[in-house]
């Protein structure tokens, strides 16, 4: 009887193989520049513009009507119309007002004071509009998505987006929110150094212990990985989420501005436009001095010009403290992992700032080996992200095992932090902690979640606060509330809680300290995209189809193995329900799919019960269920 049942050939998924299934890309969303790449059969292709340029400046200019221009054009507007242009927005992702570093007392952003009741995320004013860093980043992601769609000639709906390994939970969440706003489903957030390692490991067949030194525009990461036969195991990671090539520019700009003050003999009031101008000159100086030994640059502000000359030696004296800090962090990460520099087989350079000769020299000296930079340091992260995007959608034998960069803990008595998940723990990870009440009849309890290595709560980064409500009335210390902290493969934290003595699940309403609330996010989705609703509907429909196919395959497998248990007329009923579900899947109505799934489950209920009865009978007779049929691992869907 079983052979009469139609079973779809494994791996043949009619929807996945049509040309209009959205493609998954890899995106390196950088502080200064961003890159998009796409995985191919052969490897990965970096997507370039007509001039062969892969780098898209992470700069957004806003027109009066609110429309945005991203990239080179926006960067060129930076000097003439600084009031409508934003750059280096990644530095503000998941940040609060207190985190912002000022240059000569002026920020290169016009920052809004925090509004009452709004989340702690910074808001800036550009072109008269109040924007969050999430919205600005979403514009950059949209531009990268457009670039990929134009190049590929098909829709791009999913992406692997990279983040600095040292990004905390708030910054990771902000990045994921930005992708959502840009209409991209994030398949995975991958740490930038891990993505670079993937590119090197797969392209170059690197094996052994490698360090990835990643000095981006606004962040510094160092990761230590063990690579072997398709396994990329991160052993330890460290860094500074507020130290990057930008800081070198800031240091040089400050030197120029100090010189200017002496020369002009008076204090001037700098506008944020003047600061942007000084930063631009400083960046040019840094880049020129990577190849030349001396040069001079002009600062033009308030109608007065000053000329500033700088030699490479003088530049190196200015930036040396920053480079020394990165090497110090390398030393700590190696010590953490119990590894000496001699044991490290190679060190890979990532990020445009690693072109600075002083950086190469000091990194080479520390590791005692010539740093590797033969995959373009500006493109290697996007290449790794694209390889991972393909691995996630098309299947792969490669395994990426990453860790948490920062310890997670909660505030306890006296403002101390109790660590729950230590840094460098492999992810995904979940740890549970039991709490109890300290007063009779206490019905609520507040918990403060922190990230960082310091002992005092105020020195760590506040991630979220939440309250446990409706704790059953008991004597002090009698309630047992088990709170589970889980970090998923994206490095994102979720919290759940249950009261142990009664088994009541507790509602956990987490208020992120620096993130957007669900309401704010919903508003943004609504305002920013007229078709956001369509996107959501399409995604839910896709999910319903995947779930429906899962049910069909499960029924087909069961019929194949236990078909002899069917009674007269039963398989026709099941076949009818299968066919009805097929028709629903081919349609566009999500509710219809759900209803047909339920029908199919109803049609197979008695059959399933008979299967269970037989399984239990055979188990009691001492015959294992697994002997009934060969075990088969799941096949990745195409």
């Amino acid at each position: 009887m079983a052979q009469l049942i139609q079973i779809r050939e494994p791996g043949k998924d009619p929807l996945a193989e049509t040309g209009d299934a959205p493609v998954a890309v890899g995106i390196d969303l950088g502080t200064t520049n961003s890159v998009v790449a796409v995985g191919t059969e052969a490897g990965a292709e970096v997507i370039r513009d007509d001039n062969g340029e892969a780098l898209v400046p992470s700069v957004v200019a806003y027109a009066a009507d609110g429309s945005a221009v991203v990239g080179e054009l926006a960067r060129r507007l930076m000097l003439d119309r600084p009031d409508v242009v934003v750059g280096s927005i990644k530095r503000l992702m998941g940040r609060g007002l207190a985190d912002l570093k000022t240059l000569a007392g002026v920020l290169p952003y016009d920052v809004e004071p925090q509004a009452e009741g709004a989340s702690g995320m910074v808001r800036i004013t550009v072109a008269g509009r109040r924007l969050t860093p999430v919205e600005v980043s979403a514009e950059i992601l949209k531009a990268l998505r457009d670039r990929a769609e134009q190049h590929l000639g098909r829709a791009v709906g999913k992406a692997v987006v990279t983040v600095p390994a040292y990004f905390d939970d708030a910054a990771r969440t902000a990045t994921k929110d930005a992708a959502r706003l840009a209409g991209l489903e994030v398949l995975r957030l991958v740490n930038e150094p891990t993505a670079a390692a993937l590119a090197y490991g797969l392209d170059e067949g690197a094996e052994g212990l490698y360090a990835i030194y990643d000095l981006g525009g606004g962040t510094f990461d160092i990761s230590l990985l063990r690579m072997e036969k398709g396994v990329f195991q991160v052993l330890a990671t460290g860094g500074d989420a507020a130290l990057g090539g930008d800081d070198l520019d800031h240091a040089v700009a400050e030197t120029f501005l100090a010189e200017r003050k002496t020369r002009l003999g008076e204090e001037e009031t700098l506008t944020s436009a003047d600061v942007k101008m000084a930063l631009m000159s400083a960046r040019l100086a840094k880049e020129c001095l990577s190849t030349q030994t001396t040069g001079s640059w002009v600062i033009d502000a308030g109608g007065r010009q000053t000329n500033h000359s700088l030699s490479r030696d003088a530049l190196e004296a200015v930036i040396e403290p920053f480079v020394a800090r990165t090497v110090g962090i390398c030393r700590e990460v190696l010590a953490d992992a119990g590894v000496t520099p001699e044991q490290v087989k190679g060190v890979v350079l990532v990020g445009g700032s690693t072109r600075v000769p002083l950086v190469r020299r000091q990194v080479g000296d520390f590791f005692g080996t010539r740093p590797l930079a033969h995959i373009d340091p500006d493109e290697v992260v996007a290449v790794g992200a694209a390889l991972q995007a393909r691995a996630l959608t098309a299947g792969s034998e490669t395994l990426l095992l990453d860790v948490t960069p920062l310890s997670l803990g909660i505030e306890t008595m006296g403002g101390l932090v109790e660590k729950i998940i230590p840094r460098n723990t492999p992810i995904p990870v979940a740890k549970a902690q039991e709490f109890t009440t300290y007063q009779d009849g206490q019905s609520a309890m507040a918990i403060h979640v922190l990230q960082g290595e310091r002992e005092m709560a105020e020195q760590c980064r506040s991630l979220a606060r939440f309250e446990l409500h409706a704790i059953p009335s008991m004597a002090a210390g009698a309630a047992r509330i088990r709170v589970t902290f889980a970090v998923d493969a994206d490095g994102l934290l979720t919290v759940s809680a249950a009261e142990q003595t009664t088994g009541v699940e507790q509602e956990v309403a987490v208020k992120p300290s620096y993130g957007l609330s669900e309401d704010e996010m919903a508003n943004m989705l609504y305002e920013s995209m007229a078709h956001a609703g369509d996107d959501m509907v399409r995604r839910l429909l896709a999910e319903a189809r995947v779930e429906a196919r899962r049910v069909q395959l499960a029924v087909a497998a069961a019929l194949n193995v236990d078909g002899d248990l069917l009674v007269e007329g039963e398989h026709e009923l099941i076949n009818d329900a299968m066919a009805a579900l097929d028709a629903a899947i081919a349609g566009e109505d999500r509710d219809a799919i759900g209803a047909r799934v339920e029908d199919l489950e109803k049609a197979t209920r008695a059959f399933a019960e008979r299967r269970m009865d037989r399984g239990i009978r055979e188990a009691l007779r001492g015959r294992g269920v697994d002997e009934l049929a060969p075990a088969s691992p799941p096949e990745a869907e195409g």
Binding site: V546, A554, R614, I616, R621, A629, A631, P634
Partner: protein, 212 residues
């Protein structure tokens, strides 16, 4: 009915596959019928990584067991699957990481194995009444460390402690082989203190190194 469970005479429990709703052995990772990933079974860390429960875990076999299991169960393998399959894969990967982290570290492994075999390692600070000797040793070492004022001096203390730590591992191997649980528990407590002390040496060394 869905939660049906039975214990087989010669094997483990039978439970219901969440996906095809047929019978599945309680310790299966995938359903033998429909291939769906199952929630993690309630097995010990050794069984989870396909290792024999012994203190003398070979680092290579541990890595191999862990990588093989992660290759099949890591959430990256389930990125395009249904939310439920993704959730179970995450739970499986969490259990694998927990097992790997526990068995990789000799101290945590010893601690775990003592508990698994029904013994008890005294929690920190509780056993000192019965461990006068250990208490003395720890205090003496701490004093020496406080007085060490050069990187070289700290390194010498750290090396001595590391040697002792290594000897504990060797002694534990014997204790577990002879099923001498009280000895294993005692050694585990000593190892915990040594491990902490080595940590302190390390941070003192870093501090001294930074200032010179």
């Amino acid at each position: 009915m869905n939660e049906a469970e039975a214990t087989a005479a010669g094997g483990g429990a039978i439970s219901t596959c969440w996906s095809c709703r047929g019978p599945v052995a309680g310790d299966s990772i995938f359903c033998a019928t429909c291939g769906a990933v199952q929630p993690p079974a309630d097995v010990d860390h050794f069984a989870r990584l396909d290792l024999t429960p012994t203190f003398d875990v070979d680092a290579d076999s541990l890595d191999r067991g862990y990588f093989d299991a992660q290759r099949r169960l890591h959430p990256d393998r389930f990125a395009t699957r249904t939310p439920r399959e993704r959730a179970f894969s995450q739970l499986q990967a969490v259990s694998l990481n927990e097992a790997y982290e526990t068995l990789k570290d000799p101290l945590r492994r010893a601690d775990y194995l003592v508990t698994l075999k029904g013994g008890e390692v005294a929690p920190e600070g509780c056993s000192l009444v019965n461990e006068q000797e250990l208490l003395h040793e720890v205090m003496e070492r701490r004093e020496e460390l406080a007085e060490a004022d050069s990187v070289a001096a700290v390194e010498a203390l750290e090396a001595a402690a590391s040697d002792d730590f290594g000897r504990c591992i060797a002694a534990l191997s014997t204790a577990f082989a002879c099923d001498d649980l009280p000895a294993a528990a005692r050694l585990t407590t000593r190892m915990r203190y040594l491990g902490k002390y080595i940590e302190e040496c390390r941070s003192r060394r870093t501090r001294l190194g930074r200032h010179t």
